[in-house]
């Protein structure tokens, strides 16, 4: 179910610019299926956490109002090229995914 996510981490001065693209349908639970007229069950990412070299850098909670295939960008000071970025997410069904990248 969980599809790969993509992380791009680059240094801009002394700040690491981290961009994450997650693959997820992000169903709010209020949308109706066009064919059956039934509500599509809610299925969205609830939590995203990120660490750089094991140190917490982001701890986010999301609702269904984040767009499909969520994009998330954030900036971390004090990181350096070669540091390891890890991003985890968990959705409301308990599905989870993890990915890592190296700051380049």
């Amino acid at each position: 179910m969980a599809q790969p996510m993509r992380i791009r981490a680059t240094m801009a001065g002394d700040v690491a610019d981290i961009k994450v693209l997650m693959n997820h349908p992000m169903e709010t639970g209020t949308r109706k299926d066009a064919k059956t007229g039934q509500l599509v069950p809610a299925h969205f990412i609830t939590e995203v956490t990120s660490t750089i070299n094991g140190k917490d850098v982001l701890n986010a909670e999301m609702g269904g109002a984040v767009s499909k295939n969520p994009f998330l960008g954030f900036k971390v000071k004090g990181a350096k090229a070669g540091d390891k970025v890890v991003v985890n997410w968990v959705d409301n069904t308990g599905d989870k995914n993890t990915a890592e990248a190296t700051i380049g």
Partner: protein, 155 residues
């Protein structure tokens, strides 16, 4: 022979205990995950969402910038970028005021992470997009109107 057998059993029991401890340790993050702020995310009004976040009467601030389109053609994908120059920002929350459930995301930023979040949100209709920033125990807010021509929530 017997003594050796005892030892083996003992160490096996020891290893079992360690495994249990590890499992318990591994369970903790999952429990923390379950702490998703349900009341705030399921709130139907901006005031309730803010209550759920533990925010009361945030002060308007010019130090928060919301970068979002003035007119969004597709409400299903509205790029929103919030940046703040307020020192010691620990949290940025994004609220689309007229959505069925206004709270979009709550981003906790440990020290070292800049006051910056970029993401894409869904908007049901034209409304204010509000950023709520917590820094040093105080909360600040600002809002920007985004006109939506095709809604992105349901229907």
């Amino acid at each position: 022979m017997n003594a050796l057998r005892r030892n083996v059993l003992k160490s096996a029991a020891g290893a079992g205990a360690v495994a249990v401890a590890v499992a318990a340790g591994l369970l903790k993050p999952t429990q923390a995950m379950a702490a998703w702020n349900k009341s705030a995310f399921e709130a139907k009004s901006v005031a309730d969402a803010m209550n759920g976040l533990g925010v009361t009467s945030p002060a308007d601030s010019k130090d928060i910038t919301i970068k979002a389109p003035d007119i969004a053609e597709n409400g299903a994908v509205v790029p929103v970028e919030v940046s703040t120059s307020i020192a010691g920002t620990t949290r940025i929350a994004i609220i689309a005021e007229k959505n069925g459930t206004p709270l979009v995301g709550n981003f906790n930023l440990p020290s070292g992470t800049e006051g910056f979040i970029s993401t894409r949100i869904k908007m049901g209709q034209t409304s204010l997009v509000r950023a709520v920033v917590t820094a040093g125990g105080k909360t600040y807010t600002t809002a920007k109107e985004v006109k939506v021509t095709i809604g992105g929530c349901g229907g």
